[in-house]
């Protein structure tokens, strides 16, 4: 309790796996998250996490690693979201609400059946709040590969994503297949959410997605710097969270570690709050020329009479 790095930290195999996987997850989530925030799709991230919960609990029920459930349901939901989102503007909120409620309801059933079946009470916790210390070694390569794929997709699309966020019309006029790009991005988002669900749980996964990105966007001056800053913040909170969770074994109540998800999410929130201590970004307005009421202004002045 007197030291930050408790005895046995680095010799512990679960910790080494947690640091390795946690780093990949943190970087992927942070970089994908920067575009999630810029595109105003935080809610999409949360929706995918809800649906992924169903997948994760279903996978647990049939004896698969929950990552595959997160991934399959997340990616399927991303594709459905793209189809609904573009073609049916009206009623989207209601549809989404009903679908997400249904997804979580099914997840509750799966988790209940699963715990009855195998009498493992830990499953609900693992799916909902993460399992970074109990990752099966057979899943590690898949986790890392998925993270790299999502990262590469988003970085490759970064300029196109920025341009279509700025003005979809300009993007289309310049030959950008906006829908395909949007769909590819949502799939990368689903992968990222699945990874984050493995690390800190489906319920908390958006914290790692949105938190570091939102923090970075408050302090960074350009999109590229925002991506780097978010990645650094994500990795830092993950590492510190892992160390604190390991240390907490010696904290009261003795003999039980606190959940790592708690530490990571708490640090994410802390980092975000710290940005409010900085002075606000210098806002300049030498040439305010908007005419308050939009659309109605019509200057009544002679020009070149």
């Amino acid at each position: 309790m007197h030291y930050l790095f408790a005895p046995g930290l680095w010799s512990s195999s679960p910790v080494r796996v947690a640091v390795l996987v946690g780093t990949v997850v943190a970087i992927t989530s942070a970089v994908v998250g920067v575009f999630t925030v810029i595109r105003g799709q935080s809610f999409a991230g949360h929706s995918l996490a809800d649906v992924a919960t169903t997948g994760g609990s279903g996978a647990f029920l049939v004896g698969l690693d929950q990552f595959w459930g997160f991934l399959a349901f997340g990616v399927a939901a991303a594709i459905i979201l793209e189809v609904i989102g573009v073609q049916r503007r009206r009623g989207r909120d209601v549809t989404t609400g009903v679908v997400l409620g249904g997804a979580l309801g099914v997840a509750a059933l799966f988790l209940y059946l699963g715990s009855q079946h195998s009498s493992t009470t830990g499953a609900s916790f693992t799916v909902l709040f993460g399992s970074i210390f109990v990752i099966q070694s057979s899943t590690i390569p898949a986790l890392i590969a998925s993270g790299v794929i999502a990262l590469v997709v988003v970085v490759a699309l970064s300029r196109v994503l920025l341009l279509s966020s700025l003005s979809p019309d300009v993007a289309v006029a310049r030959g950008v297949p906006v829908r395909t790009v949007g769909a590819a991005y949502l799939v990368a988002l689903a992968i990222s959410v699945s990874l984050s669900s493995v690390a800190i749980g489906a319920v908390l996964s958006t914290a790692l997605l949105i938190g570091p990105a939102a923090t970075a966007l408050r302090v960074a001056k350009s999109p590229v710097r925002a991506m780097f800053t978010a990645a650094v913040i994500g990795v830092a909170v993950t590492w510190i969270g892992i160390v604190l969770a390991y240390d907490s074994y010696y904290w009261p109540p003795h003999g039980h570690s606190w959940p790592v998800s708690f530490f990571i999410v708490a640090l994410v929130v802390l980092a975000y709050l710290l940005t409010y201590l900085r002075r606000p970004a210098d806002r300049r307005s030498p040439e305010r020329d908007d005419l308050g009421a939009a659309g109605t202004a019509r200057p009544e002045v002679e020009v070149g009479a």
Partner: protein, 296 residues
């Protein structure tokens, strides 16, 4: 009206034409929003796309950009017809300045980032920062008078500043035709005049053709070479004197309007309702009761 030209003739004419619309008609949801619109634009020409809100100005711009396929008629950009199977969007002949940006004020997208997206924002991968790239951005920003806020976040700028930035964004790929969708809407007079001066200079010095839509032609009057006046989905094309006439605009609106000249300015006044033969087309875009238009 105008017959479609045989390809050989079109090629010959195209050398001197940047843009040609031939009998463009657009139907959306069973409604005809554009009817038989034809006009051409030459290099360095400053053309005002004028008309009331809802008349079809934006539709014309979208057709030219290839965002909307015409139901009939053809659009030819720098000699190449668009809308065909082989047409590829994203040609650098046209630069487009949209009406509105969808970026939140607190996003760290600097002015220079936005302008750099004009170079290769439609491509995959990550650009390598280079001195040449940076200088090109700076130089383009200077040409529109926006170099003073190159490092500011674009979402924090005023409407007029954002317009300048988006003009720089469109200019950096060296287009020969610049399309602007209502760039002067919601700007105060001074900012509007500033934007018009920048555009007129580009047309004059770099021979960039400018097609600018506006519901108010006042600020454009001193620099417009030609007017494409759009009302009720139809267009009248020519110089100010040819277009801003009672007979021409009455025919266009499908109802009687008076074009009055007051102290060198033009004011368009709607006639009594039902006074004239109604439009054969059920289309949007009725004239405003009193419509001010300054003419040099």
């Amino acid at each position: 009206m105008s017959e479609p030209m045989p390809p050989a003739v079109a090629d010959a004419v195209a050398a001197d034409e940047l843009l040609r619309l031939d009998g463009v008609t657009v139907r959306l949801g069973g409604r005809e929003v554009l009817h038989d619109v034809s006009f051409t634009i030459r290099p360095g020409e400053f053309t005002g796309l004028i008309g009331p809100n809802g008349a079809g100005k934006t539709t014309i711009l979208r057709v030219i950009l290839g965002l909307l396929p015409p139901s009939a008629g053809t659009v030819t950009v720098a000699g190449a017809p668009i809308g065909g199977h082989r047409h590829r969007r994203g040609q650098s002949v046209i630069g487009y300045v949209p009406q509105k940006l969808l970026i939140e004020p607190d996003m760290p997208l600097r002015v220079r980032d936005v302008v750099a997206l004009g170079i290769d924002g439609n491509r995959l991968g990550v650009p390598f920062p280079s001195r040449a790239r940076r200088e090109l951005v700076d130089q383009t920003l200077r040409s529109v008078g926006a170099d003073g806020y190159a490092d500011a976040r674009v979402g924090e700028l005023s409407g007029g500043e954002q317009q300048r930035v988006m003009i720089a964004h469109a200019l950096i790929s060296r287009p020969r035709l610049l399309l602007l969708d209502e760039p002067l809407a919601n700007l105060d007079i001074r900012s509007a005049q500033g934007i018009v001066a920048v555009l007129a200079k580009l047309a004059r010095e770099q021979q960039i053709a400018v097609l600018i839509s506006a519901h108010d032609m006042n600020p454009l009057a001193p620099v417009m070479d030609r007017i494409v006046y759009v009302a009720a989905g139809r267009a009248a094309v020519g110089s100010s004197d040819e277009v801003l006439r009672t007979d021409v605009l009455s025919r266009l609106y499908g109802q009687h309007v008076d074009v009055l000249r007051v102290h060198g300015r033009v004011v368009i006044v709607a006639g009594e309702s039902g006074e004239d033969a109604g439009s054969p087309h059920d289309v949007a875009g009725q004239p405003d009761p009193v419509y001010g238009s300054g003419v040099a």
